[in-house]
Protein backbone atom coordinates (compact mmCIF):
# COMPACT_ATOMS: atom_id res chain seq x y z
CA UNK A 1 0.00 0.00 0.00
CA UNK A 2 1.28 3.43 -0.91
CA UNK A 3 1.07 5.77 2.04
CA UNK A 4 1.19 9.42 1.38
CA UNK A 5 0.88 12.20 3.90
CA UNK A 6 -0.93 15.23 2.57
CA UNK A 7 -2.67 18.17 4.20
CA UNK A 8 -4.41 21.24 2.91
CA UNK A 9 -1.01 22.91 2.97
CA UNK A 10 0.29 20.43 0.41
CA UNK A 11 0.65 21.35 -3.26
CA UNK A 12 -0.27 18.71 -5.80
CA UNK A 13 1.50 18.85 -9.17
CA UNK A 14 -0.06 16.80 -11.96
CA UNK A 15 2.38 15.86 -14.74
CA UNK A 16 6.08 15.08 -14.42
CA UNK A 17 7.47 16.77 -17.53
CA UNK A 18 9.87 19.68 -17.43
CA UNK A 19 7.07 22.02 -16.29
CA UNK A 20 5.78 19.74 -13.53
CA UNK A 21 9.29 19.00 -12.24
CA UNK A 22 10.10 22.70 -12.22
CA UNK A 23 6.90 23.71 -10.43
CA UNK A 24 7.37 20.95 -7.86
CA UNK A 25 11.00 21.90 -7.25
CA UNK A 26 10.37 25.60 -6.96
CA UNK A 27 7.62 25.04 -4.40
CA UNK A 28 9.55 22.40 -2.46
CA UNK A 29 12.71 24.49 -2.39
CA UNK A 30 10.58 27.20 -0.77
CA UNK A 31 9.81 24.67 1.96
CA UNK A 32 6.38 23.55 0.80
CA UNK A 33 5.20 19.94 0.82
CA UNK A 34 4.68 18.77 -2.74
CA UNK A 35 3.22 15.65 -4.28
CA UNK A 36 4.17 15.18 -7.92
CA UNK A 37 2.16 12.65 -9.87
CA UNK A 38 2.99 11.31 -13.32
CA UNK A 39 0.86 8.90 -15.32
CA UNK A 40 3.79 7.25 -17.09
CA UNK A 41 6.32 5.01 -15.30
CA UNK A 42 8.98 7.75 -15.45
CA UNK A 43 9.38 11.48 -15.08
CA UNK A 44 10.72 13.49 -18.01
CA UNK A 45 7.78 14.15 -20.30
CA UNK A 46 8.22 15.01 -23.96
CA UNK A 47 11.56 16.76 -23.51
CA UNK A 48 13.11 13.39 -22.68
CA UNK A 49 12.05 12.30 -26.18
CA UNK A 50 13.99 15.08 -27.92
CA UNK A 51 17.48 14.58 -29.29
CA UNK A 52 18.73 18.13 -28.66
CA UNK A 53 16.93 21.25 -27.72
CA UNK A 54 17.17 24.78 -28.96
CA UNK A 55 18.36 27.45 -28.41
CA UNK A 56 21.63 26.03 -27.10
CA UNK A 57 21.32 22.64 -28.79
CA UNK A 58 22.15 20.77 -25.62
CA UNK A 59 21.03 17.22 -24.94
CA UNK A 60 17.91 16.98 -22.77
CA UNK A 61 19.65 14.41 -20.55
CA UNK A 62 21.74 17.24 -19.16
CA UNK A 63 18.80 19.35 -17.98
CA UNK A 64 17.04 16.21 -16.79
CA UNK A 65 20.03 15.19 -14.71
CA UNK A 66 20.18 18.56 -12.96
CA UNK A 67 16.48 18.39 -12.13
CA UNK A 68 16.73 14.83 -10.88
CA UNK A 69 19.62 15.76 -8.64
CA UNK A 70 17.53 18.58 -7.17
CA UNK A 71 14.60 16.21 -6.68
CA UNK A 72 16.72 13.55 -4.98
CA UNK A 73 18.19 16.16 -2.65
CA UNK A 74 14.78 17.39 -1.57
CA UNK A 75 12.83 15.74 1.24
CA UNK A 76 9.71 17.77 0.54
CA UNK A 77 8.75 16.16 -2.79
CA UNK A 78 6.87 12.91 -2.91
CA UNK A 79 6.71 11.35 -6.39
CA UNK A 80 4.04 8.95 -7.53
CA UNK A 81 4.43 7.48 -11.00
CA UNK A 82 1.81 5.56 -12.98
CA UNK A 83 -0.71 7.70 -11.13
CA UNK A 84 -3.68 9.57 -12.51
CA UNK A 85 -6.31 11.91 -11.12
CA UNK A 86 -9.83 10.56 -11.37
CA UNK A 87 -11.83 13.11 -9.41
CA UNK A 88 -11.44 16.44 -7.68
CA UNK A 89 -13.86 18.01 -5.22
CA UNK A 90 -13.59 20.95 -2.83
CA UNK A 91 -12.23 24.42 -3.17
CA UNK A 92 -9.11 26.51 -3.06
CA UNK A 93 -7.20 25.67 0.11
CA UNK A 94 -9.11 22.46 0.59
CA UNK A 95 -9.29 20.02 -2.30
CA UNK A 96 -9.96 16.35 -2.10
CA UNK A 97 -8.31 14.44 -4.94
CA UNK A 98 -8.92 10.84 -5.93
CA UNK A 99 -6.03 9.06 -7.64
CA UNK A 100 -5.56 5.65 -9.17
CA UNK A 101 -2.12 4.10 -9.24
CA UNK A 102 -1.56 1.37 -11.79
CA UNK A 103 0.57 -1.60 -10.77
CA UNK A 104 4.19 -1.52 -11.91
CA UNK A 105 4.74 -5.11 -10.67
CA UNK A 106 8.27 -4.09 -9.72
CA UNK A 107 9.17 -2.77 -6.27
CA UNK A 108 11.78 -0.35 -5.02
CA UNK A 109 14.17 -3.27 -4.58
CA UNK A 110 14.86 -3.11 -8.32
CA UNK A 111 18.48 -2.32 -9.20
CA UNK A 112 17.70 -2.16 -12.93
CA UNK A 113 20.08 -5.05 -13.49
CA UNK A 114 18.14 -5.86 -16.71
CA UNK A 115 17.95 -9.62 -16.05
CA UNK A 116 14.15 -9.68 -16.33
CA UNK A 117 14.21 -7.74 -19.60
CA UNK A 118 16.71 -10.20 -21.05
CA UNK A 119 14.68 -13.20 -19.96
CA UNK A 120 11.33 -12.04 -21.27
CA UNK A 121 10.60 -12.66 -24.95
CA UNK A 122 7.29 -10.92 -25.63
CA UNK A 123 7.67 -7.50 -27.23
CA UNK A 124 5.40 -4.48 -27.51
CA UNK A 125 5.51 -1.14 -29.33
CA UNK A 126 7.94 1.18 -27.55
CA UNK A 127 5.96 4.27 -26.49
CA UNK A 128 9.10 6.28 -25.80
CA UNK A 129 10.01 5.84 -29.49
CA UNK A 130 6.48 6.45 -30.81
CA UNK A 131 6.28 2.81 -31.85
CA UNK A 132 9.27 3.05 -34.22
CA UNK A 133 10.76 0.10 -32.41
CA UNK A 134 9.76 -2.67 -30.05
CA UNK A 135 10.61 -3.08 -26.40
CA UNK A 136 10.44 -6.07 -24.09
CA UNK A 137 7.47 -6.78 -21.83
CA UNK A 138 9.78 -6.09 -18.84
CA UNK A 139 11.51 -2.81 -19.48
CA UNK A 140 13.05 0.44 -18.36
CA UNK A 141 11.14 3.20 -20.19
CA UNK A 142 14.39 4.89 -21.27
CA UNK A 143 17.99 5.18 -20.17
CA UNK A 144 17.56 8.22 -17.92
CA UNK A 145 14.20 7.05 -16.53
CA UNK A 146 13.36 8.10 -13.00
CA UNK A 147 12.71 6.19 -10.88
CA UNK A 148 15.36 3.78 -12.21
CA UNK A 149 12.98 0.93 -11.77
CA UNK A 150 11.82 -1.62 -14.32
CA UNK A 151 8.17 -2.03 -15.32
CA UNK A 152 6.28 -5.17 -16.24
CA UNK A 153 3.78 -4.54 -18.99
CA UNK A 154 0.30 -5.47 -17.69
CA UNK A 155 -0.28 -7.46 -20.89
CA UNK A 156 2.42 -9.86 -19.67
CA UNK A 157 0.62 -10.74 -16.46
CA UNK A 158 -0.68 -14.31 -16.40
CA UNK A 159 1.75 -15.48 -19.09
CA UNK A 160 4.74 -17.75 -18.70
CA UNK A 161 6.96 -14.78 -19.53
CA UNK A 162 5.85 -13.00 -16.36
CA UNK A 163 6.86 -15.99 -14.26
CA UNK A 164 10.15 -16.14 -16.11
CA UNK A 165 10.84 -12.51 -15.24
CA UNK A 166 10.08 -13.16 -11.60
CA UNK A 167 12.26 -16.23 -11.45
CA UNK A 168 15.37 -14.49 -12.80
CA UNK A 169 15.14 -11.49 -10.45
CA UNK A 170 17.85 -11.89 -7.84
CA UNK A 171 16.61 -8.99 -5.73
CA UNK A 172 13.08 -10.18 -5.12
CA UNK A 173 11.86 -7.00 -6.81
CA UNK A 174 9.01 -8.48 -8.85
CA UNK A 175 5.55 -8.82 -7.35
CA UNK A 176 3.07 -10.17 -9.86
CA UNK A 177 0.23 -9.87 -7.37
CA UNK A 178 0.34 -6.08 -7.30
CA UNK A 179 -3.09 -4.48 -7.77
CA UNK A 180 -4.36 -1.11 -8.88
CA UNK A 181 -4.63 1.23 -5.90
CA UNK A 182 -6.93 4.14 -5.26
CA UNK A 183 -5.95 6.99 -3.02
CA UNK A 184 -7.62 10.12 -1.69
CA UNK A 185 -5.46 13.13 -0.92
CA UNK A 186 -6.26 16.37 0.81
CA UNK A 187 -4.35 19.25 -0.80
CA UNK A 188 -4.50 23.04 -0.76
CA UNK A 189 -3.51 23.89 -4.33
CA UNK A 190 -3.15 22.02 -7.61
CA UNK A 191 -0.79 22.70 -10.51
CA UNK A 192 -1.76 21.17 -13.85
CA UNK A 193 1.38 20.50 -15.89
CA UNK A 194 -0.02 17.79 -18.10
CA UNK A 195 1.63 19.03 -21.30
CA UNK A 196 0.88 18.11 -24.86
CA UNK A 197 0.64 15.37 -27.43
CA UNK A 198 1.47 15.46 -31.13
CA UNK A 199 -1.52 16.03 -33.39
CA UNK A 200 -2.62 12.79 -35.07
CA UNK A 201 -0.93 12.98 -38.50
CA UNK A 202 -3.32 10.38 -39.94
CA UNK A 203 -6.03 13.00 -39.91
CA UNK A 204 -4.20 15.12 -42.50
CA UNK A 205 -5.38 12.93 -45.36
CA UNK A 206 -3.68 14.86 -48.17
CA UNK A 207 -0.23 14.24 -46.68
CA UNK A 208 -0.57 10.46 -46.70
CA UNK A 209 1.15 9.75 -43.37
CA UNK A 210 -0.99 6.63 -43.11
CA UNK A 211 -0.05 5.29 -46.55
CA UNK A 212 3.32 6.70 -47.61
CA UNK A 213 6.11 5.14 -45.53
CA UNK A 214 8.62 7.93 -46.13
CA UNK A 215 6.38 10.58 -44.62
CA UNK A 216 7.25 10.84 -40.92
CA UNK A 217 6.61 13.37 -38.14
CA UNK A 218 8.99 15.76 -36.42
CA UNK A 219 8.72 13.89 -33.13
CA UNK A 220 9.76 10.69 -34.90
CA UNK A 221 12.79 12.46 -36.39
CA UNK A 222 13.83 13.44 -32.85
CA UNK A 223 13.81 9.76 -31.89
CA UNK A 224 15.77 8.70 -35.00
CA UNK A 225 18.58 11.09 -34.08
CA UNK A 226 19.05 9.50 -30.65
CA UNK A 227 22.09 7.17 -30.77
CA UNK A 228 20.18 4.75 -28.50
CA UNK A 229 16.98 5.21 -30.50
CA UNK A 230 15.23 3.08 -33.12
CA UNK A 231 17.72 3.78 -35.94
CA UNK A 232 20.88 4.13 -33.88
CA UNK A 233 21.11 7.86 -34.48
CA UNK A 234 20.74 7.77 -38.26
CA UNK A 235 18.01 9.29 -40.42
CA UNK A 236 16.73 6.18 -42.19
CA UNK A 237 13.83 5.85 -44.60
CA UNK A 238 11.12 3.58 -43.22
CA UNK A 239 10.54 2.12 -46.72
CA UNK A 240 14.01 0.69 -47.34
CA UNK A 241 16.20 1.58 -44.36
CA UNK A 242 18.45 3.73 -46.54
CA UNK A 243 19.85 7.03 -45.35
CA UNK A 244 17.72 10.01 -46.40
CA UNK A 245 19.82 12.99 -47.45
CA UNK A 246 17.28 15.07 -49.32
CA UNK A 247 14.64 15.94 -46.76
CA UNK A 248 11.53 18.11 -47.03
CA UNK A 249 9.99 19.73 -43.97
CA UNK A 250 6.32 20.67 -44.09
CA UNK A 251 5.33 23.41 -41.65
CA UNK A 252 1.95 23.86 -39.99
CA UNK A 253 1.10 20.16 -40.34
CA UNK A 254 -2.19 20.20 -38.47
CA UNK A 255 -1.74 23.70 -37.01
CA UNK A 256 -3.18 27.03 -38.20
CA UNK A 257 -5.83 25.08 -40.00
CA UNK A 258 -9.52 25.29 -39.23
CA UNK A 259 -9.90 21.69 -40.36
CA UNK A 260 -7.50 20.55 -37.62
CA UNK A 261 -5.93 22.73 -34.89
CA UNK A 262 -6.81 26.37 -35.20
CA UNK A 263 -3.87 27.63 -33.19
CA UNK A 264 -0.27 28.14 -34.22
CA UNK A 265 1.80 25.59 -32.31
CA UNK A 266 4.53 28.20 -32.03
CA UNK A 267 7.53 25.97 -31.58
CA UNK A 268 7.43 23.94 -34.80
CA UNK A 269 9.08 26.58 -36.99
CA UNK A 270 12.03 26.77 -34.61
CA UNK A 271 12.01 22.98 -34.25
CA UNK A 272 12.36 22.64 -38.03
CA UNK A 273 15.21 25.14 -38.09
CA UNK A 274 16.82 22.97 -35.44
CA UNK A 275 16.15 19.86 -37.55
CA UNK A 276 18.12 21.31 -40.46
CA UNK A 277 21.11 21.36 -38.11
CA UNK A 278 20.49 17.63 -37.53
CA UNK A 279 20.69 17.08 -41.30
CA UNK A 280 23.91 19.05 -41.41
CA UNK A 281 25.28 17.13 -38.44
CA UNK A 282 24.68 13.87 -40.35
CA UNK A 283 25.85 14.76 -43.84
CA UNK A 284 27.69 18.10 -43.80
CA UNK A 285 27.43 19.75 -47.22
CA UNK A 286 25.99 16.55 -48.73
CA UNK A 287 22.62 16.93 -47.04
CA UNK A 288 19.73 18.95 -48.38
CA UNK A 289 16.84 20.44 -46.40
CA UNK A 290 13.85 22.13 -48.02
CA UNK A 291 11.35 23.95 -45.81
CA UNK A 292 7.80 24.42 -47.14
CA UNK A 293 6.14 27.13 -45.08
CA UNK A 294 3.34 29.71 -44.89
CA UNK A 295 5.50 32.08 -42.92
CA UNK A 296 8.36 31.41 -40.53
CA UNK A 297 7.39 32.15 -36.96
CA UNK A 298 10.64 31.94 -35.09
CA UNK A 299 9.57 34.03 -32.14
CA UNK A 300 11.76 36.78 -30.63
CA UNK A 301 15.25 35.53 -29.82
CA UNK A 302 14.88 32.48 -32.09
CA UNK A 303 15.02 34.89 -35.01
CA UNK A 304 18.76 34.48 -34.72
CA UNK A 305 18.54 30.78 -35.51
CA UNK A 306 16.39 31.65 -38.51
CA UNK A 307 19.05 33.96 -39.93
CA UNK A 308 21.75 31.40 -39.32
CA UNK A 309 19.69 28.76 -41.09
CA UNK A 310 19.02 31.06 -44.02
CA UNK A 311 22.76 31.47 -44.48
CA UNK A 312 23.22 27.69 -44.72
CA UNK A 313 23.57 26.74 -48.40
CA UNK A 314 22.14 23.27 -47.85
CA UNK A 315 18.82 24.70 -46.66
CA UNK A 316 16.22 26.22 -48.96
CA UNK A 317 12.90 27.83 -48.13
CA UNK A 318 9.84 27.48 -50.34
CA UNK A 319 6.86 29.66 -49.47
CA UNK A 320 3.95 27.32 -49.96
CA UNK A 321 1.54 25.23 -48.00
CA UNK A 322 1.92 21.86 -49.71
CA UNK A 323 -1.35 20.79 -51.33
CA UNK A 324 -0.85 17.04 -51.28
CA UNK A 325 1.73 14.25 -51.36
CA UNK A 326 1.85 11.25 -53.63
CA UNK A 327 4.44 8.51 -53.88
CA UNK A 328 6.78 7.51 -56.69
CA UNK A 329 6.26 3.75 -56.93
CA UNK A 330 9.76 2.81 -58.07
CA UNK A 331 11.82 4.94 -55.68
CA UNK A 332 9.26 5.23 -52.84
CA UNK A 333 10.08 8.94 -52.83
CA UNK A 334 7.24 11.14 -51.64
CA UNK A 335 6.28 13.74 -54.27
CA UNK A 336 5.08 17.12 -53.08
CA UNK A 337 2.53 19.06 -55.10
CA UNK A 338 1.72 22.71 -54.73
CA UNK A 339 2.30 26.26 -55.83
CA UNK A 340 5.24 28.44 -54.88
CA UNK A 341 3.43 31.59 -53.81
CA UNK A 342 6.49 33.69 -54.58
CA UNK A 343 6.05 33.68 -58.33
CA UNK A 344 3.07 31.32 -58.52
CA UNK A 345 4.91 28.42 -60.15
CA UNK A 346 3.48 24.98 -59.68
CA UNK A 347 5.87 22.33 -58.50
CA UNK A 348 6.01 18.56 -58.22
CA UNK A 349 9.06 17.95 -56.07
CA UNK A 350 10.36 14.52 -55.11
CA UNK A 351 12.31 14.16 -51.85
CA UNK A 352 13.79 11.12 -50.14
CA UNK A 353 11.97 11.79 -46.89
CA UNK A 354 9.25 14.16 -45.70
CA UNK A 355 9.07 15.38 -42.11
CA UNK A 356 5.75 16.84 -40.99
CA UNK A 357 6.24 19.64 -38.44
CA UNK A 358 3.37 18.30 -36.43
CA UNK A 359 1.20 20.51 -34.22
CA UNK A 360 0.93 20.33 -30.43
CA UNK A 361 -2.40 19.81 -28.72
CA UNK A 362 -3.21 19.53 -25.00
CA UNK A 363 -2.68 15.98 -23.76
CA UNK A 364 -5.67 16.08 -21.41
CA UNK A 365 -9.27 16.79 -22.29
CA UNK A 366 -10.08 18.70 -19.10
CA UNK A 367 -13.77 18.93 -19.88
CA UNK A 368 -13.97 15.16 -20.08
CA UNK A 369 -11.97 14.80 -16.87
CA UNK A 370 -14.67 16.92 -15.23
CA UNK A 371 -12.38 19.36 -13.42
CA UNK A 372 -13.64 22.86 -13.04
CA UNK A 373 -10.96 24.73 -14.99
CA UNK A 374 -11.30 27.56 -17.45
CA UNK A 375 -10.35 26.07 -20.83
CA UNK A 376 -9.94 28.10 -24.03
CA UNK A 377 -11.25 27.12 -27.47
CA UNK A 378 -8.01 25.28 -28.25
CA UNK A 379 -8.26 23.12 -25.11
CA UNK A 380 -5.50 24.87 -23.14
CA UNK A 381 -5.92 26.08 -19.54
CA UNK A 382 -6.61 29.78 -19.08
CA UNK A 383 -5.18 30.99 -15.81
CA UNK A 384 -8.32 32.63 -14.50
CA UNK A 385 -9.41 33.61 -10.98
CA UNK A 386 -12.39 31.27 -11.35
CA UNK A 387 -9.93 28.36 -11.25
CA UNK A 388 -9.55 28.96 -7.50
CA UNK A 389 -6.48 27.16 -6.19
CA UNK A 390 -5.74 25.42 -9.49
CA UNK A 391 -3.11 26.70 -11.90
CA UNK A 392 -1.90 25.66 -15.32
CA UNK A 393 1.83 25.33 -16.02
CA UNK A 394 3.82 24.82 -19.21
CA UNK A 395 2.29 23.48 -22.39
CA UNK A 396 -0.96 22.65 -20.57
CA UNK A 397 -1.57 26.41 -20.89
CA UNK A 398 -0.28 27.02 -24.43
CA UNK A 399 2.17 25.71 -27.03
CA UNK A 400 5.47 26.81 -25.48
CA UNK A 401 9.15 26.06 -25.76
CA UNK A 402 11.03 24.73 -22.76
CA UNK A 403 12.24 28.12 -21.61
CA UNK A 404 8.75 29.61 -21.57
CA UNK A 405 7.28 26.42 -20.10
CA UNK A 406 9.70 26.71 -17.19
CA UNK A 407 8.83 30.37 -16.67
CA UNK A 408 5.16 29.52 -16.63
CA UNK A 409 5.82 26.68 -14.16
CA UNK A 410 7.71 28.99 -11.82
CA UNK A 411 4.85 31.47 -11.93
CA UNK A 412 2.32 28.77 -11.12
CA UNK A 413 4.45 27.55 -8.20
CA UNK A 414 4.40 31.06 -6.76
CA UNK A 415 0.62 31.24 -7.08
CA UNK A 416 0.19 27.85 -5.44
CA UNK A 417 2.52 28.89 -2.60
CA UNK A 418 0.35 31.95 -1.99
CA UNK A 419 -2.72 29.71 -1.64
CA UNK A 420 -1.15 27.34 0.88
CA UNK A 421 0.39 30.25 2.79
CA UNK A 422 -3.08 31.70 3.22
CA UNK A 423 -4.28 28.36 4.52
CA UNK A 424 -1.38 28.33 6.98
CA UNK A 425 -2.15 31.86 8.18
CA UNK A 426 -5.85 31.10 8.59
CA UNK A 427 -5.09 27.99 10.61
CA UNK A 428 -2.49 29.96 12.58
Amino acid sequence: MTDVVATNQTILVVGGGISGMTAALEAAECGKDVILIEKKPSLGGRVAQLYKYFPKMCHPTCGMEINLRRIKANQKIRILTMAEVTEITGDSGNYSVNLTISPRYVTENCTSCAACGDAVETEFDDEHNYGLKKRKGAYLPFLMAYPQQYVIDPRLIGTADADKAKSVCKYDAINLEMQEETLTLNVGAIIWATGWKPFDANKIQAYGYDRIPNVITSVELERMMDPTGPTGGKILRPSDGKEAKDIAFIQCAGSRDRNYLKHCSRICCTATLKHTTYVREQYGDEGKSTIYYIDIRAIDRFEDLYHKTKADKTVSFLKSKVANITQDKTTANPILHGVNTEGYQRYTNAHELVVLAIGMEPSVDFKQLGVNLSINEHGFIENDPSNGGMFGAGVATDALDVNRAVQSATASALRAIQVVNQVATAEG
Partner: protein, 201 residues
Protein backbone atom coordinates in the same frame (compact mmCIF):
# COMPACT_ATOMS: atom_id res chain seq x y z
CA UNK B 1 -16.13 59.52 -56.78
CA UNK B 2 -15.79 56.52 -59.00
CA UNK B 3 -12.01 56.60 -59.00
CA UNK B 4 -11.99 56.56 -55.24
CA UNK B 5 -13.98 53.35 -55.23
CA UNK B 6 -12.10 51.69 -58.03
CA UNK B 7 -8.97 52.01 -55.98
CA UNK B 8 -10.80 50.02 -53.43
CA UNK B 9 -11.65 46.99 -55.46
CA UNK B 10 -11.64 44.79 -52.36
CA UNK B 11 -14.57 46.76 -50.94
CA UNK B 12 -16.42 46.45 -54.20
CA UNK B 13 -15.93 42.69 -54.18
CA UNK B 14 -17.10 42.50 -50.59
CA UNK B 15 -20.25 44.43 -51.40
CA UNK B 16 -21.20 42.95 -54.74
CA UNK B 17 -19.68 39.53 -55.18
CA UNK B 18 -21.28 36.47 -53.65
CA UNK B 19 -19.19 35.43 -50.59
CA UNK B 20 -16.83 38.29 -51.48
CA UNK B 21 -16.49 39.31 -47.84
CA UNK B 22 -14.30 36.23 -47.32
CA UNK B 23 -11.54 37.37 -49.65
CA UNK B 24 -9.69 39.38 -47.02
CA UNK B 25 -9.39 36.32 -44.79
CA UNK B 26 -7.13 34.54 -47.26
CA UNK B 27 -3.64 34.07 -45.80
CA UNK B 28 -2.00 33.32 -49.16
CA UNK B 29 -0.88 29.84 -48.16
CA UNK B 30 -1.30 28.50 -51.69
CA UNK B 31 -3.12 25.27 -50.90
CA UNK B 32 -6.11 26.09 -53.11
CA UNK B 33 -3.92 26.83 -56.13
CA UNK B 34 -1.85 23.73 -55.54
CA UNK B 35 -4.97 21.60 -55.17
CA UNK B 36 -6.84 22.86 -58.21
CA UNK B 37 -7.00 20.25 -60.99
CA UNK B 38 -6.99 23.03 -63.59
CA UNK B 39 -3.62 23.94 -62.26
CA UNK B 40 -1.39 24.86 -65.15
CA UNK B 41 -4.24 25.56 -67.54
CA UNK B 42 -5.51 28.79 -66.19
CA UNK B 43 -4.04 32.21 -65.95
CA UNK B 44 -4.76 33.00 -62.31
CA UNK B 45 -5.36 30.34 -59.66
CA UNK B 46 -7.72 31.32 -56.79
CA UNK B 47 -5.09 32.49 -54.32
CA UNK B 48 -3.54 34.70 -56.98
CA UNK B 49 -6.93 36.19 -57.84
CA UNK B 50 -7.47 36.97 -54.14
CA UNK B 51 -4.14 38.74 -53.98
CA UNK B 52 -4.95 40.66 -57.16
CA UNK B 53 -8.27 41.75 -55.65
CA UNK B 54 -6.47 43.14 -52.65
CA UNK B 55 -3.98 44.85 -54.90
CA UNK B 56 -6.86 46.59 -56.68
CA UNK B 57 -6.30 44.95 -60.07
CA UNK B 58 -9.93 45.41 -61.08
CA UNK B 59 -9.68 45.01 -64.84
CA UNK B 60 -7.23 42.14 -64.77
CA UNK B 61 -9.46 40.21 -62.39
CA UNK B 62 -12.84 40.91 -63.95
CA UNK B 63 -11.70 40.42 -67.54
CA UNK B 64 -9.90 37.22 -66.71
CA UNK B 65 -11.20 33.90 -67.98
CA UNK B 66 -9.86 32.14 -64.88
CA UNK B 67 -12.94 32.02 -62.69
CA UNK B 68 -14.97 30.75 -65.64
CA UNK B 69 -12.82 27.65 -65.69
CA UNK B 70 -13.64 26.48 -62.17
CA UNK B 71 -15.22 23.02 -62.35
CA UNK B 72 -16.67 23.13 -58.82
CA UNK B 73 -14.64 20.13 -57.77
CA UNK B 74 -14.39 21.54 -54.22
CA UNK B 75 -10.79 20.38 -53.72
CA UNK B 76 -9.82 23.88 -52.67
CA UNK B 77 -12.64 24.29 -50.16
CA UNK B 78 -11.89 20.95 -48.59
CA UNK B 79 -8.28 21.94 -47.95
CA UNK B 80 -8.35 25.69 -47.30
CA UNK B 81 -7.04 26.20 -43.74
CA UNK B 82 -9.16 29.32 -43.41
CA UNK B 83 -12.38 27.71 -44.67
CA UNK B 84 -12.87 30.20 -47.50
CA UNK B 85 -15.79 29.19 -49.77
CA UNK B 86 -13.40 29.47 -52.73
CA UNK B 87 -15.60 27.74 -55.30
CA UNK B 88 -18.49 30.08 -54.56
CA UNK B 89 -16.24 33.13 -54.71
CA UNK B 90 -15.03 31.97 -58.13
CA UNK B 91 -18.57 31.72 -59.43
CA UNK B 92 -19.48 34.98 -57.72
CA UNK B 93 -16.63 36.77 -59.48
CA UNK B 94 -17.59 35.30 -62.83
CA UNK B 95 -21.18 36.33 -62.37
CA UNK B 96 -20.21 39.84 -61.31
CA UNK B 97 -17.90 40.26 -64.30
CA UNK B 98 -20.71 39.18 -66.60
CA UNK B 99 -23.08 41.67 -64.98
CA UNK B 100 -20.61 44.44 -65.68
CA UNK B 101 -20.13 43.27 -69.24
CA UNK B 102 -16.45 42.65 -68.61
CA UNK B 103 -16.44 38.86 -68.90
CA UNK B 104 -14.62 37.39 -71.90
CA UNK B 105 -17.23 36.87 -74.63
CA UNK B 106 -15.96 33.73 -76.23
CA UNK B 107 -15.31 31.77 -73.08
CA UNK B 108 -17.13 28.43 -73.41
CA UNK B 109 -18.49 28.21 -69.87
CA UNK B 110 -19.76 31.74 -70.14
CA UNK B 111 -21.47 30.97 -73.43
CA UNK B 112 -23.14 27.90 -72.04
CA UNK B 113 -24.10 29.65 -68.80
CA UNK B 114 -25.77 32.42 -70.79
CA UNK B 115 -27.72 29.87 -72.82
CA UNK B 116 -28.74 28.03 -69.70
CA UNK B 117 -29.97 31.25 -68.12
CA UNK B 118 -31.88 32.40 -71.19
CA UNK B 119 -33.50 29.01 -71.45
CA UNK B 120 -34.43 28.77 -67.79
CA UNK B 121 -35.58 32.33 -67.18
CA UNK B 122 -38.06 32.24 -70.06
CA UNK B 123 -40.52 29.80 -68.48
CA UNK B 124 -39.06 29.01 -65.08
CA UNK B 125 -38.24 25.47 -66.19
CA UNK B 126 -35.27 24.15 -68.14
CA UNK B 127 -36.14 22.94 -71.59
CA UNK B 128 -33.60 20.12 -71.84
CA UNK B 129 -33.99 19.57 -75.55
CA UNK B 130 -33.60 23.18 -76.61
CA UNK B 131 -30.77 23.72 -74.16
CA UNK B 132 -28.91 20.68 -75.46
CA UNK B 133 -29.33 21.72 -79.07
CA UNK B 134 -28.31 25.30 -78.43
CA UNK B 135 -25.28 23.99 -76.54
CA UNK B 136 -24.26 21.64 -79.36
CA UNK B 137 -24.57 24.35 -81.95
CA UNK B 138 -23.15 27.23 -79.94
CA UNK B 139 -19.84 27.02 -81.77
CA UNK B 140 -21.29 26.88 -85.30
CA UNK B 141 -23.32 24.50 -87.48
CA UNK B 142 -20.61 22.01 -88.43
CA UNK B 143 -19.36 21.75 -84.86
CA UNK B 144 -22.95 21.15 -83.79
CA UNK B 145 -23.52 18.32 -86.25
CA UNK B 146 -20.29 16.67 -85.18
CA UNK B 147 -21.14 16.98 -81.51
CA UNK B 148 -24.69 15.65 -82.08
CA UNK B 149 -23.31 12.60 -83.86
CA UNK B 150 -20.83 12.02 -81.06
CA UNK B 151 -23.54 12.25 -78.44
CA UNK B 152 -26.12 10.14 -80.34
CA UNK B 153 -25.95 7.21 -77.93
CA UNK B 154 -26.33 9.36 -74.84
CA UNK B 155 -29.28 11.18 -76.36
CA UNK B 156 -30.99 7.92 -77.24
CA UNK B 157 -30.44 6.60 -73.75
CA UNK B 158 -31.98 9.73 -72.27
CA UNK B 159 -34.97 9.42 -74.57
CA UNK B 160 -35.54 5.81 -73.57
CA UNK B 161 -35.22 6.55 -69.86
CA UNK B 162 -37.66 9.45 -70.30
CA UNK B 163 -35.05 12.04 -69.33
CA UNK B 164 -35.52 13.87 -72.62
CA UNK B 165 -38.94 14.69 -74.02
CA UNK B 166 -38.90 15.19 -77.84
CA UNK B 167 -42.09 17.28 -77.68
CA UNK B 168 -40.28 19.96 -75.70
CA UNK B 169 -39.25 21.33 -79.09
CA UNK B 170 -42.82 22.63 -79.46
CA UNK B 171 -42.45 25.00 -76.56
CA UNK B 172 -42.21 22.76 -73.52
CA UNK B 173 -43.40 23.10 -69.95
CA UNK B 174 -43.10 26.07 -67.65
CA UNK B 175 -43.85 27.10 -64.09
CA UNK B 176 -47.34 28.20 -63.10
CA UNK B 177 -46.85 31.94 -63.14
CA UNK B 178 -44.08 32.76 -65.53
CA UNK B 179 -45.17 36.41 -65.65
CA UNK B 180 -44.70 36.62 -61.88
CA UNK B 181 -41.29 35.02 -62.29
CA UNK B 182 -40.29 37.65 -64.84
CA UNK B 183 -41.34 40.37 -62.40
CA UNK B 184 -39.24 38.84 -59.63
CA UNK B 185 -36.22 38.60 -61.88
CA UNK B 186 -36.68 42.17 -63.05
CA UNK B 187 -36.82 43.44 -59.49
CA UNK B 188 -33.73 41.41 -58.52
CA UNK B 189 -31.88 42.84 -61.45
CA UNK B 190 -32.84 46.38 -60.40
CA UNK B 191 -31.54 45.82 -56.90
CA UNK B 192 -28.28 44.39 -58.15
CA UNK B 193 -27.82 47.13 -60.72
CA UNK B 194 -28.32 49.74 -58.02
CA UNK B 195 -25.58 48.06 -55.96
CA UNK B 196 -23.28 48.04 -58.97
CA UNK B 197 -24.05 51.68 -59.72
CA UNK B 198 -22.81 52.64 -56.27
CA UNK B 199 -19.35 51.59 -57.25
CA UNK B 200 -19.46 53.17 -60.64
CA UNK B 201 -20.11 56.68 -59.42
Amino acid sequence: MSEQYRNNFLREVEANVEEGEWVKRCMQCGVCSGSCPLGPHWEHPPQELFMMIRAGKRDEVLKSSSMWMCTSCYNCIARCPRELPITHIMHGLAHYAERLGLAPKNQQTNKFAQRFWNNLSKTGRVNELKLTLSFYFMNGFMAGVKMSLNMQKVGLGMLLSKRLNPFEILGGHGCKDSKGLQAILKKAREIEDAKIAKFQG
